[in-house]
Amino acid sequence: MRYLFTHLDDAWDLTLIHLWLSLLPLVLGLVIAVPLGALVQRTTVLRRFTTVIASIVFTIPSLALFVVLPLIIPTRILDQANVIVALTLYTVALLVRAVPEALDAVPPAVLDAATAVGYKPLTRIVKVELPLAIPVLVASLRVVAVTNISMVSVGSVIGIGGLGTWFTEGYQADKSDQIIAGIVAIFVLAIVVDTLIMVGGKFATPWVRSAKKTKAGAR
């Protein structure tokens, strides 16, 4: 633990890299997965297909993906882009299953009501369905964020890993203190990001809280 406090400057720099490497894929994945998920939600065949592809992508070990990606896309073998693309793939794989499920959770009566007041299909999705799907979406976003933050550290094996660098350095120098510092830093980072997403989700869906209140009042 002492290592963490004596290397706060390093910790800050590495944390920034770590955040960049784990959260950029989260944003990219979200941007890709939401339209894709909404697109396949109603078509059973397409939905099955994406689910299968997504679970295949998810079985590829992260370390393997970091190494193999440069053979498939034109990046150099020890490049940040590999980690970012790999984690984006995982994010999409997880979210593309969650988005249709989140949209399923929207009550049909609400959809009918939205159609009845004149929403066109596209605006209905954007203005009615997606906002109502936020709670379920936030739940999976939290899982993805935490997984990503922990997974970035694996990148340190190929020389890119933010705070994970402390793992490989500590291991090579036989300094368990440095490894513990890395674990603690990543753990705290994950918990902070997780909490922020949760709080953000609550703010984005004020109606959930008020609905709970009225329910409690009715009882």
Binding site: T59, V68, I183, A190
Partner: protein
């Protein structure tokens, strides 16, 4: 694509499968790490999930514990374990257990907690003791979700067990690590391909187990009935919003055509 050809020809050369460092040995090592980690995760996660799900007490432990365990980086725990306990089976097992416990705990808990209350009350009113209610009624009903958790855990563990090689252990990760070290990247690709195939086979086997575990005749009724949300409901139930879903599920199935 040159790499891919090299990797494939490596895999399809019989000579590379034998020997003390051949593919066969590596695959068995890999499966060994997976099985041991899966076993010990189940030993911890399933009883705890059963107790919390049955009593309804300590739910916060599931939510908080699952999140906290997920946040611990596997690689760090593995390397720390090697420094503390030396090389051997213990460090990778502990590190992989961190991945195995959360899905199994969540699956078991939500499976038990979502068993129809009427069924549980009926069992109780027939005079079953609490432990019999849990083991003879709740567990069989929750089995699909419990096994679903095992399936997710197995998938994660088998895919991550490659990390073990970084701590000078065996398994399919050897190809990855050694491939990077000696800059023979087709070797890394060999590791990646074999692990992916292994994971897919394991996943398919466990998916079959989940299907088999559906209580009663549900699994047969489900097939011809194209009830859209059905399959999703089962999977979605594990992500804690099962409350409304399972109820809808139940109602939808109530007036089933077989009656």
């Amino acid at each position: 694509m040159n790499f891919l050809q090299q990797a494939l020809s490596y895999i399809f050369t019989a000579a590379n499968w034998g020997g003390p460092a051949g593919l066969t040995v590596r695959i068995l090592e890999h499966l060994q790490y997976t099985a041991v980690a899966l076993f010990f995760s189940a030993l911890i996660a399933i009883p705890i999930g059963m107790i919390i799900g049955h009593t309804g007490r300590g739910t916060f432990l599931v939510v908080g514990g699952v999140n906290a365990l997920r946040a611990l980086p596997t690689l760090g725990v593995l390397l720390l374990g090697v420094l503390l306990w030396g090389l051997g089976l213990v460090p990778p097992t502990v590190a992989l257990m961190l991945l195995g416990i959360p899905p199994m705990l969540a699956g078991t808990y939500s499976g038990i907690a979502n068993v129809d209350r009427a069924v549980v009350d009926a069992a109780r009113s027939m005079g079953m003791t609490e432990s019999r209610v849990l083991l003879r009624v709740e567990v069989p009903n929750a089995l699909p979700l419990i096994l679903g958790g095992v399936r997710t855990a197995a998938l994660q563990i088998v895919a991550t067990a490659t990390v073990a090689a970084y701590a000078s252990l065996g398994g399919l990760g050897r190809y990855l690590i050694d491939g990077i070290k000696v800059r023979q990247f087709y070797l890394a690709l060999v590791g990646a391909l074999v692990v992916t195939v292994l994971a897919l086979i394991l996943d398919a086997a466990l998916a079959f187990a989940v299907w088999l575990s559906e209580p009663g005749t549900d699994r047969f009724r489900k097939m011809p009935q194209p009830f859209l949300g059905d399959e999703v409901a089962l999977e979605g139930a594990s992500t804690s919003r099962s409350d409304g879903l399972s109820r809808g599920d139940h109602e939808a199935r109530g007036p089933s055509p077989t009656v």
